[in-house]
Symmetry: C2
Subunit: 383 residues, 2 copies
């Protein structure tokens, strides 16, 4: 009944051609992407004037030509795509664009991409990245004062289901990579979905997840807020990190102490994790480096990494391991361009006899891996 | 220094061609849109193979051809665009796409559009829609249990700057239109920016703004969460609205009573506002209908609206006005397709001698108007 009257309203709207009505009608109502029963996926684009239409996605190598039939271009992937959140875009006569038939999109740094999720059974990767009928945590865009940076800055905070009812919770700080911002982990990282599903199935402890903006010169992502205020940072992001921890401690009901505090991050956020944990030995019982940049910011180019680590961070790293963290976790893909850096780091740790765990995945410096690392790391915490 | 090392990392990444690096490099680094000193705007797209490139935006009538110079297509608007958040898209050989040079985008129901903001001076419309150096409220995606709908559902809640420090606040319920969801007001509606700027300048009282999902069959927007759970609603959204109010009352520090409670909404959300306020006479001291659909869902097609209002809602409306609300506000654009419905409503109110205020803007059923209405209405509340 309700639906009928909504249709009525829409029909009325149709009588009038204005800009706004564009929004209600999807004129290219060609289904795309279509997940087929064999778990292949068909993409479609109606582009009768195009000479060449291609699709580029992280479910296959290279860019693929789509086939034209009366102006409807299509491409079907091989069968049996494995569970995953996949990203893709179309290239029409050389111009990249998102799939107009697919409203599910994410911004990855400076590129918008279409995406879709393949899931085959409860608990698989694709399943973990979706909203399911479980208790959900809330996700907040929170502004905090950073006296050390002299700015009011924005971060994203996940509080687990039931947080409103009381109790204290451990905290994971989850840091993004270069060019990213406080929207990276909540969107492409699927943090809320992963945490909701892991917590609901008892695989992860209920925890608060703090996702700050790691660009010390910015107050917030400009794309959501309409404007970033930039200023020359008075100190480094790593030095200012205590402002974030202080805010969280003051405004959230957290369990204190190292055993209730984890820090992890990807790429530049891995560098931040490394640096911040080195600044505060014994403060974090769980440290996770995801495809971490180890030599950002403080390594002379010509000096071997291990030598530089020893010279500049040796005492700090020693103190970190002397505090005997529950888990020091290093993860990277076997084709990641930072693989050698991480190998040097592991060599350094090995020579020193420091206790850490290492996980090596397939693939490179990609979100697919970072979601996997978050999923694995989160299950190891606070137990 | 930091910037230098980020560049280094990026250069290293460049050595390797993988999918992920796409995200870091914006190969179409043609500036678009470019706001010129005369407040015209230039759009650019590099499309050497295209036959025809056009731009369609709400800053001008119709769709405009762009000019090709060696494959770089461009178009400059007339000078002196007035302060506003504008939306636009490109049409390349008949295919609509977003401006790849512009990362600022919003989804309006089922269409993604590029957007940009023109501002000329502090306090103008464009200014109000941006993040400025003022105290900011937080925006949360909150899941609440709706016993009446038998679902756990998602809504968006704005808490004003300083909320964390204590105190009680009045509440505005702000409802979206047909096809929209709990992301509509926070994105295209610019709620947080408008409220931050109005509150910071003393023009609006600090208040909590609750933006629910008005689609009774859905638990949440699928585009952010990866999946919507749909079910046949056990009751109407309007009937279930008390679940939302109960959740807010229980979980937020609110000032109670009609004088601290406002409800307003656009289009279908205007219909919801009308219906919900009729269901609860004396509960809301501030009622705002923005381009409201008056006859959704309960009007027989052939019966004149005024007659139907009298027959089905007459007693409820009488009770609403008998409670003497501080402000019953009706706003609509002079070319809105719902103009006549709203005229009938006003006629009905006039004949009954009910006290309301009316605001008529230029233009139609568009977000530009809804942002204006929110800006005006918010300044009238809780004073």
């Amino acid at each position: 009944m309700k639906r009928y009257f909504i249709s009525l309203l829409v029909l009325m709207a149709f009588g009038q051609v204005t800009f706004a009505q564009q929004a209600i009608f999807d004129k290219q109502n060609t289904q795309s992407p279509q997940v087929n029963s064999d778990n292949s996926v068909t993409f479609r684009l109606y582009a009768p004037k195009a000479q060449k239409v291609q699709v580029h996605g992280d479910f296959m190598e290279g860019i693929q030509d789509m086939t034209n039939e009366n102006g409807l271009w299509s491409f079907t992937t091989p069968a049996n795509l494995s569970p995953e959140l996949y990203m893709y875009w179309f290239r029409v006569d050389g111009i990249d664009m998102q799939d107009p038939g697919n409203l599910m999109r994410s911004r990855d740094v400076r590129t918008h991409m279409s995406n879709f999720i393949i899931t085959k059974e409860e608990g698989d990767k694709g399943y973990l990245y979706q909203n399911h009928n479980v208790a959900h945590g809330n996700v907040s865009e929170v502004w905090y004062e950073s006296p050390k940076l002299g700015m009011i800055r924005r971060m994203t905070i996940y509080t687990p289901a039931g947080y409103e009812k009381g109790g204290k919770y451990p905290v994971m700080y989850l840091l993004h990579g270069a060019g990213g911002d406080e929207e990276a982990w909540p969107t492409l990282g699927r943090t809320a979905q992963i945490m909701d599903n892991l917590i609901a199935s008892g695989k992860a402890a209920p925890m608060i997840v703090v996702m700050p903006n790691g660009n010390a010169s910015d107050d917030a992502s400009p794309y959501a807020t309409g404007l970033t205020h930039k200023q020359k940072p008075a100190t480094t992001y790593e030095e200012s990190f205590t402002d974030i921890m202080n805010y969280v401690q003051k405004n959230y009901r957290i369990k204190k102490g190292a055993k209730n505090t984890a820090i992890c991050g990807l790429s530049m956020g891995g560098y931040h994790t490394f640096s911040i944990s080195n600044l505060h030995p014994g403060k974090f019982d769980y440290i996770g480096l995801y495809s971490a940049a180890i030599r950002m910011g403080w390594r002379q180019e010509n000096q071997p990494l291990e030598e530089y680590l020893e010279e500049k961070q040796g005492k700090a790293i020693e103190a970190v391991f002397a505090a005997n963290p529950q888990l020091y976790w290093v993860a990277i893909g076997n084709t990641d361009f930072l693989y050698e850096q991480n190998k040097s780091l592991r060599n350094y740790f090995d020579k020193k006899g420091y206790k850490y765990e290492y996980f090596e995945s397939d693939g490179g410096h990609i979100w697919r891996n970072w979601r996997i690392y978050l999923t694995m790391f989160a299950q190891r915490l606070f137990k």
